[in-house]
Amino acid sequence: MNQPTVSFLARHEFLIRRLHSLTGIVPIGVFLCIHLAVNASVIEDVTAFQKAVYQIHSLGGLLPFVEWALIFLPILFHGILGVLILLGGSSNTGDYPYAENYRYLLQRATGLIAGLFILWHVFHMHGWFHFRWWIDGIAAPLGGALFRPFHAASTAGAALQNGYVTTLYLIGILASVFHLANGLWTAGITWGIWTSPNAQKKIWRFCAAFGIILAAIGTSALFGMRHAGKSETFETIQGIENRMYEIRVELGDIRSSEDKRS
């Protein structure tokens, strides 16, 4: 009998699925928590957030490598495999309307929403690539790459003034948070950490609480940022950011970089 050629994906299905599960938590889940928490620091005051951004950008030329290796590539892997997983299932909540079955459906729906949102969000703020020709020729004309790290709160906030944009961000953040909180619960089953129905019920409550807290942090970050970009506050905040920049350049903490300002 002719042995059908078994694809790479099929031969290593177990390890690839486990890697999918792992990347969802480390680094992506950890990154989401840090990302939302850092952005929420804008609520306290603009300088706190700007300080955190300076810390991230202290990596200098290494930053793009860190971004791609620890954030973008894991998300791309997780997302592409996620689409394959999505295509391999067929939801049946109509006939079997159980809570876990709805969560199975929601996990796939929020994954898809989060994936599309992240693609757009990274384009919108970051621009995907930081080659000059790409930013000037493609990303900026298409309304992307709006974030300037040394004017962090004011530029991020200015990009969030449109109500539709803010709504899409809110949907994207909540979808991502649900996907992480519920994914944490399913990952614990996948890896065999919580096995009994009783333990799974208890951990679900913990995951739900974690999700609610993270959603609150994410929502605060979004509206805090939106507030910072309002026309009434924009100038003041740019002033604060300019002063921080000048002092840092004077101290020699950073090299002057107009790319990261305008």
């Binding site: 009998m1 042995q3 059908p4 078994v6 099929a10 031969r11 299905e13 177990f14 390890l15 699925r17 486990r18 997983i85 391999g88 299932g89 067929s90 939801s91 049946n92 109509g94 006939d95 079997y96 159980y98 876990e100 079955n101 969560r103 199975y104 996990q107 399913t186 089953i189 996948t190 890896w191 065999g192 950490i193 919580w194 096995t195 009994s196 129905p197 799974q200």
Partner: protein, 276 residues
Amino acid sequence: MTTSGKPASFEVRILRQDAPGEPSRWERFRVPYETDMNVISVLQKIAANPRTIDGRDVAPVAWESNCLEEVCGACTMVINGRVRQACSALVDQLLADRPGEIELRPMSKFPVYRDLVVDRQRLFRSLVRVRAWLPIDDYSDRGPGPRQSQAEQEQAYPLTECMSCGCCLEACPQFQKVDLSEYGEGTSDEQRNAAFDRSFLGAHAISQAMLFNGHPIGKTSAAERLDALMAEGGIQVCGNAQNCVAVCPKEIPLTTSIARAGRATTIHTIKKFFDH
């Protein structure tokens, strides 16, 4: 409605199919109500008088049944949208949930032989894949086997109640029907098994693998079962919808077995990586 609040008769809608690969069609029958009917007795009434509501005489509806006490799994079908055994599906309850009509369909994840009879070979193939048996292949007297502790017995017993009915597979959103039509007429056993072996095992087989891995003699081939669980279509396909445990008529803790298999394969992978 009669004075007792029970209907004089009720309608039964059945998804019928004449032979494998043939198109399916709905037919409706009217069945006189009697007390204490189950879906098997409804099918017997229809077999005795196979005439549809619009007056056509048709071939009697084919179904499988055996024990009539929910321990053999033969009469598993989709009743009012939910997979279960026809013998333990009581008409009074079905009519209370959905007055006037009962809907019967064959399971959708297996090929239909005829009407409500399906071919569940894939279910048994999954058990072969995970070696769901004790590896004792001779007649020599080996003396008494190792003792099982009370705790081990209590963990194993519920898993032994599986009757291979297929409910967990029918309700699973990750368990997809295997399409054998690409092989055309006369699929060989090898072709069919090869197709089954690439597809998802299903909750029943994962649970049976854990049953035999927990058995003192079954343990001797635990690594082979774990390798089978980690092969293509193995435990990694599970999507944690947990419908299996919700529909299992024997209330087998299938999701616990799945999580335990998840733990065992995690450890097995680490061992293979570092001990090899």
